[in-house]
């Protein structure tokens, strides 16, 4: 009895405290809103937003609703996060492996990279790229082409645009290729288990992935046109590149800063993971007669990945959350469009901030669920 009371009282007190705090805030919010004559509700989402957004993946202008503005911001946030995650993984893996290199110079260069980029605030790095580095680029009319067809200018990065005809057929052909690859892999595994024969699965898969879409091109079902950026004069002194796709400098600066910064953390995760696999594993695999490639693919990587993935997931989450710094250089992400402009116009602080926070919470949870699923899939299945 005594023990039971002892465990109930602190719980009750905590609960009371939390309820009291929340209650205090709610009552005050109610009173304040009554005073100012605003009523709580999400109806404003359907109203006309009447503001424009610089850069949008979907069609949007001032006549659309606040809900659509929210979607524009959300898509821009996702775009930055996905690009950042891709690049930070590539850079991070390279730097992480470089830190383990037997070459003294490479090892130390990588270490200095990590030491430097990790210890400078991300916001400062974003500002550096946006206001200092990218501003030093030439004007469109003076730009030399990069890789022949792209133009890196102060007004953005202009790349060729791909114009597809019957794009859906191409997608279907790729899907068909993937499905047939899955069948072939199953068949190959069966063959190996039953007869010990090995099929060149990788070669066949790449071949199929190339062959299926190629057939659609050859038969003329899918057509592709490339629109190259062409210099166009807007006024006497102002030039841009038309026709092609333009990546705004805000996006460029943001992706650069986010991926260079997060790559340092990813690199440390990769290094820890590879170092975490004991040397004996490699030696044992070699003594069984596996080739170096097989050792890496079948022995080292599966074990290292188990160590690497959980902390790397955290870094991806951080990158997604850090992408909200976009607001500082006026890249129209969720925070700038919704928690900035829309909030300023409607004055609905509680609703808008709560939606924004919930969105990030959902994004975080989604990424971590996805990664947990993947992590579980590659975890050692002990018998």
């Amino acid at each position: 009895m005594n023990h039971k009371i002892k465990s109930i009282i602190p719980q009750l007190l905590t609960l009371l405290f939390v309820v009291a705090v929340i209650g205090f805030f709610t009552i005050n919010a109610q009173l304040n809103m009554d005073e100012r004559g605003i009523d709580f509700g999400y109806g404003f989402l359907n109203q006309e937003s009447s503001f424009d957004v610089q850069f949008s993946l979907i069609e949007y202008d001032g006549s659309h609703s606040y809900a659509k503005a929210y979607l524009v911001g959300l898509l821009n946030t996702i775009l930055v996060s996905v690009l950042g995650i891709i690049f930070c993984t590539i850079i991070g893996v390279i730097i992480g492996i470089a830190r383990l290199s037997p070459n003294y110079l490479i090892r130390n260069t990588a270490a200095w990279y990590v030491e430097f980029f990790r210890n400078v605030p991300l916001l400062l790095q974003i500002f550096f790229w946006y206001y200092a580095a990218l501003r030093a680029l030439p004007l469109p009319e003076n730009t030399e082409p990069l890789f022949g067809v792209t133009y890196l200018t102060v007004k953005g990065y202009y790349i060729p645009r791909l114009i597809w005809e019957n794009f859906d057929i191409l997608i279907y052909s790729i899907l068909a290729a993937i499905i047939s690859i899955m069948f072939i892999r199953n068949y190959a595994r069966k063959l190996q288990e039953e007869k010990g024969q090995q099929l060149p699965v990788l070669l066949i898969s790449v071949g199929l992935l190339l062959a299926f879409p190629a057939i659609t091109f050859v038969t003329g079902m899918v057509q592709l046109e490339v629109a190259l950026p062409v210099l166009k004069q807007l006024s006497k002194t102002s030039f841009i590149y038309a026709e092609g796709l333009s990546v705004p400098p805000e996006l460029l600066a943001l992706v650069l800063a986010l991926s260079l910064y997060t790559a340092t953390f990813v690199a440390e995760c990769v290094r820890a993971g590879v170092q975490g696999v004991s040397k004996g594993q490699k030696e044992a695999a070699a003594s069984v007669g596996l080739t170096p490639n097989q050792i890496l693919k079948l022995v080292i990587m599966p074990q290292a990945l188990r160590i690497i993935i959980p902390p790397t997931t955290n870094q991806y989450l951080n990158l997604t959350k850090n992408s909200s710094l976009a607001a500082a250089i006026a890249y129209p992400d969720l925070v700038l469009v919704f928690a900035g402009t829309a909030l300023m116009q409607t004055g609905r602080a509680i609703e808008i901030v709560s939606i924004t926070m919930l969105t990030y919470l959902t994004l975080s949870l989604a990424i971590s669920l996805l990664m947990n699923w993947y992590n579980k899939k590659i975890a050692i299945k002990e018998k």
Binding site: L105, P121, L124, L361
Partner: protein, 424 residues
């Protein structure tokens, strides 16, 4: 059978190969030095690509020629082992050397030889191509103290001296006083710090003029925000970590909810919340200063991260420690304070240091509520019509500043880790 391989040395003819090889490497490096420092290019007559890659090719051949498993020469063996163990590594080595040689002249010219630091106006910088450190010199006080009135900067300085002084009081606590050291740092010191900052920096009494928090800024504001962030988020995080490990379900779920919520949202939205949403949650006549709201938001946010780090330490302790403490008849709090937490905290020093570093690096975000510390002041200086066009210098200055602070902190944490390392 005679195996003829021109590039492969053997121990018999190694001496010759060594001379030729190191000669070639030397030539390749010399060529790059000539190209970058003196703008002389000897291989101009060759076709473009060959001309461009010539030093790399010569250097690679040179490295190839001195590569031998065991040569007997200590220096050559060391080089072979560390930078020349295969062709790929040799190529990367050369690339890094060449890149450094190519970057040094323009970078040092810009930063040192052609830079200006004299004068007090922009005119001093117009003539040169290099960096304009005059800009940093003129704005230095702003970067350090923000818009705080120039005459009162001594107040900030004295306040910081006092803060550091009181922080060292713990070293002089001997004997009986030593028992109160935790009490001093956890409760007394934050109160003293708040009073010092309130009376000295904020002013308004004792004949000191009132300076509103909007005028605070620069590096001193970074220090103030991170200082209060550090001393408050640590105890809060500790309580949350214990709560998450608690056996009482209500406390555990509340802690989990709190931690997961704050870890799932970006700091910038939290700061938004503190500036636009929080005033709605208070009675309409209550007023909380912007700076205090921001610091509170940062504390609540970082506490969740600290909690997760400490939880890692708690989980790493073997069960035996808990059982041993209980079998000695210790209650929950006695067990946590005297047995569990000291060991757990020792384990997580690196993690805590990382969280604190993240906190310091996050302080620039307070720009969203209109407070400007170093980075904010940079943005302000950059848009000043008298000083347009010197953004680069400002960012380099701030990067070095932050890098130094964070590097020092991470070194200190490594020192602490070593100091408190105990054999198990």
């Amino acid at each position: 059978m005679i195996n003829i391989n021109l590039l492969k040395p053997s121990s018999a003819n190694f001496q010759t190969y060594l001379y030729i090889g190191s000669g070639l490497i030397f030539i390749s490096i010399f060529d790059v030095i000539l190209r970058s420092f003196f703008n002389i290019n000897f291989s101009n007559s060759l076709p473009g690509i060959l001309n461009f890659f010539l030093p790399l090719i010569i250097g690679l051949v040179g490295f190839q020629m001195i590569r031998l498993e065991y040569s007997g020469n200590r220096i050559v063996d060391k080089i072979n082992q560390s930078v020349n163990n295969n062709t790929f590594n040799a190529g990367l080595t050369l690339l890094i050397i060449f890149l450094t040689l190519l970057i040094i002249p323009p970078a040092s010219n810009w930063m040192i030889f052609e830079a200006t630091i004299s004068g007090d106006t922009k005119e001093a910088c117009v003539a040169t191509e290099g960096a304009c450190w005059t800009y940093i010199k003129v704005w230095f006080r702003r970067f350090m103290y923000g818009m705080y009135p120039n005459d009162f900067h001594w107040r900030i300085n004295t306040a910081f001296i006092f803060l550091i002084g009181f922080a060292f009081v713990g070293y002089f606590m001997r004997g009986k006083l030593k028992n109160y050291i935790t009490f001093y740092y956890a409760i007394l010191y934050p109160i003293i710090a708040f009073l010092i900052i309130n009376f000295l920096i904020s002013g308004g009494s004792f004949g000191l003029e009132w300076v509103e928090t909007n005028a605070w800024g620069g590096l001193s504001l970074t220090f103030i925000v991170s200082f209060f962030g550090l001393i408050f988020c640590f105890p809060l995080g500790m309580i949350l970590a214990l709560g998450r490990r608690s056996e009482l379900p209500v406390i555990r779920y509340i802690s989990i909810g709190y931690i997961e919520f704050w870890r799932g949202v970006p700091l910038i939205t939290v700061l938004f919340m503190s500036s636009v949403m929080f005033p709605m949650f208070l009675p309409s006549d209550a007023f909380v200063d912007k700076l205090i709201r921001v610091i509170a938001a940062i504390i609540l946010f970082e506490a969740a991260y600290v909690a997760e780090v400490i939880r890692g330490g708690l989980q790493a302790l073997p069960r035996g420690q808990y059982d041993a403490a209980k079998s000695l008849g210790m209650g929950y709090w006695k067990m946590q304070i005297f047995v569990i937490l000291p060991q757990a905290l020792k384990l997580v020093i690196p993690g805590i240091a990382n969280t604190f570093l993240a906190l310091v690096k996050d302080t620039p975000l307070i720009f969203v509520v209109g407070l400007s510390e170093v980075v904010g002041m940079l943005q302000m200086a950059k848009t000043n019509p008298k000083w347009l066009g010197y953004a680069m210098e400002g960012y380099i200055f701030a990067s070095i500043l932050f890098w130094a602070i964070c590097y020092a902190m991470s070194r200190y944490s490594q020192y602490l880790e070593l100091k408190y390392k105990t054999e198990r």
